[in-house]
C-alpha cells in the first residue's frame, strides 16, 4: 500500500550563500517551486566561511522525487549546495476529523496535534457543505517521525475526544512485524 505521494521525508540542505541582498530568498525559490515544504531555516549570519560565504541550514519535507528536483534546481540557480541528505525519515498519516471542526477552533486543533508529538501538519482540506456552524469535516495530512505514528495518533485521539470530534484514523501497519 505504499505510494510515492505518501512517501514524504524530511531532508536537511546545507547551503553556502554569497553575502549579497536577496540571496536567501533566491535560494528558497527552487524549494517552493518544486513542491518542497519548508520546515525551518537556520541562517548563520555571524559565521562566515573562509571563502566569505554565509552558511544556511534548511530543513524541508518532500517526496524523494521532488527532493531530487529541488537539488537540481538549486544547482541550476548557482546556489552552492554543501550537503543534501535525509536527516530523518518521516511517515505520512492521513486522518479525517468530522463534527464541529470549525467551531471547536481548527487552528487550535492543528497546533495541538503538532505540539503533542513529533509531527507536522503538512496539508489541510476542509469540507463544510452545511456552512461553518454545522457539521464539517477536515482531512489532515501529518508527517510523523518514523516509528512515531502510534504516539502521534494517540495525541490526535486525545484532542478529538476532548473536542467531541469524530476521528477517522488511517490503517497503520506499524509494529506488525
Amino acid at each position: 500500500m505504499s505510494d510515492s505521494q505518501n512517501d514524504i521525508r524530511a531532508y536537511t540542505l546545507r547551503l553556502e550563500l554569497v553575502d549579497e541582498p536577496g540571496e536567501l530568498l533566491r535560494s528558497l525559490h527552487p524549494i517552493a517551486d518544486n513542491g518542497g515544504n519548508l520546515l525551518s531555516i537556520f541562517h548563520e549570519r555571524g559565521n562566515v566561511t573562509p571563502r566569505g560565504h554565509i552558511p544556511v541550514e534548511v530543513d524541508i519535507e518532500a517526496t524523494p522525487d521532488r527532493f531530487e528536483k529541488i537539488v537540481d534546481a538549486l544547482h541550476e540557480a548557482d546556489i552552492n549546495v554543501v550537503q543534501a541528505g535525509t536527516e530523518r525519515y518521516s511517515e505520512a498519516l492521513t486522518i479525517v476529523l468530522s463534527g464541529h471542526v470549525i467551531e471547536t477552533d481548527l487552528s487550535d486543533t492543528l497546533e495541538r496535534i503538532q505540539a503533542s508529538a513529533n509531527a507536522t501538519v503538512t496539508d489541510v482540506s476542509l469540507s463544510a457543505p452545511e456552512g461553518t456552524a454545522d457539521t464539517s469535516s477536515a482531512r489532515l495530512q501529518i508527517a510523523a517521525e518514523s516509528g512515531a505514528t502510534g504516539s502521534v495518533l494517540e495525541g490526535v485521539r486525545e484532542v478529538a475526544a476532548e473536542k467531541d470530534l469524530r476521528l477517522i484514523e488511517p490503517l497503520t501497519t506499524e509494529g506488525d512485524r
Binding site: A128, R139, I168, P170, L171
Partner: protein, 316 residues
Amino acid sequence: MRIAVIGAGAVGSSVVELAGEYGHDVTAFADSRSAAVDAEGLDVDAVLDRKRTDGIVGDADLEDALSGPYDVLVEATPVTLGDAEPGMTHVEAALTRDRHVVLANKGPVAERYGDVRELEADSEGRVLFEATVGGAMPVLSTIADVGADHITAVRGVLNGTVNFVLSRMAAEGLDYEHVLAEAQDLGVAETDPSFDVEGTDTALKGVILANVLSEDREYTLDDAEVDGIVDIPGSVLELAREDGRTVRLIVEVREGEVRVGPRLVPENAALAPTGTYNTVQFETEHAGQLNVSGLGAGGPETASAILADVGRLDRS
C-alpha cells in the same frame, strides 16, 4: 453424518436444504416453537414447506430435537449477547451427549469462549465455528492451517451491510440516511440495523478471532473498542475520495487488542472491498500478507461454511 439443525432462519433452512448435496442426513430440525425428528432422515422438502406455510417445522418440540438422533448439532439460532442463551444450552446439550457442535451463532464463542472450550474438553465431541466469522470465507481454517502462533495481526471488513452503505455513499455522494433506507428496501439492511451499523456484529467477529489467536486469554465484547458508522457525514467520504482513499469499517486484532472503527484506506486496497463483499487480511510471520475475500453473509453462503465444518468432523 446425521445433522440436527437448531434454528430455522435463512442459515438454518439453507443447511437443511443443502445437507443432502454434501452427503449428510438431517435427522432433526427445530425452531423456537417446534421441531421435526426422524432417525432415518427428514423429508427435507416437506419440512421446509411446512415452515413456510404453517410457520412451524413439525409436531415435536425442541427437547426432542436436542435429545434426538444426530452426530453433529448445528446451532443457528439468533445471536444473543451476555450469557449467549439459549445457544449455550444447546451447545451443552450436544457436548454432554458426546456429540459434535458446529456454530453459526456467534454468541457462545464471542461471549463465553472459555465455557465452550471447557465443555468441549470434557466431551468426546468437538466444536467448530467457521461460519461465525466471514460467512462463506475460510477464515478460521486459514488460521488453523497457518498456525495462530505465526499470525501477528488480523484486519477485516466483516459486515456486508455496513460495507454496502459506505460503498454507496462514496460512489454516489449520497448521505447516510438515504443509503441506509435504500439498503433496507433492498433487504441488505435489517429493519433495526443498529447491530450492524454500530459495529457490534463486526466486533463480535473480532472477539472470536482474538479468542482463536490467543492462547491464554479469553475475550468478550467488553474487551473490544467499538466505533460504528452511524450518521457518518458524506463530507468524510468526499474528503477521502479526493485523496485517493475511502472509508471502511475495519476490525483490527493485534497485540491483544480488538478495535473496530471506520478507517481510511487506499481506494484500491485489498481492505476496500465494495458492496456486500468481505475481506480478511492476515499478517503472517513467514508468509507476508494473506488476503481472503468473499461473501460474508447470506443463507446458502453461510451454510456452505457450516457444511465444510461438518465435512471436517466427518473426516477426523
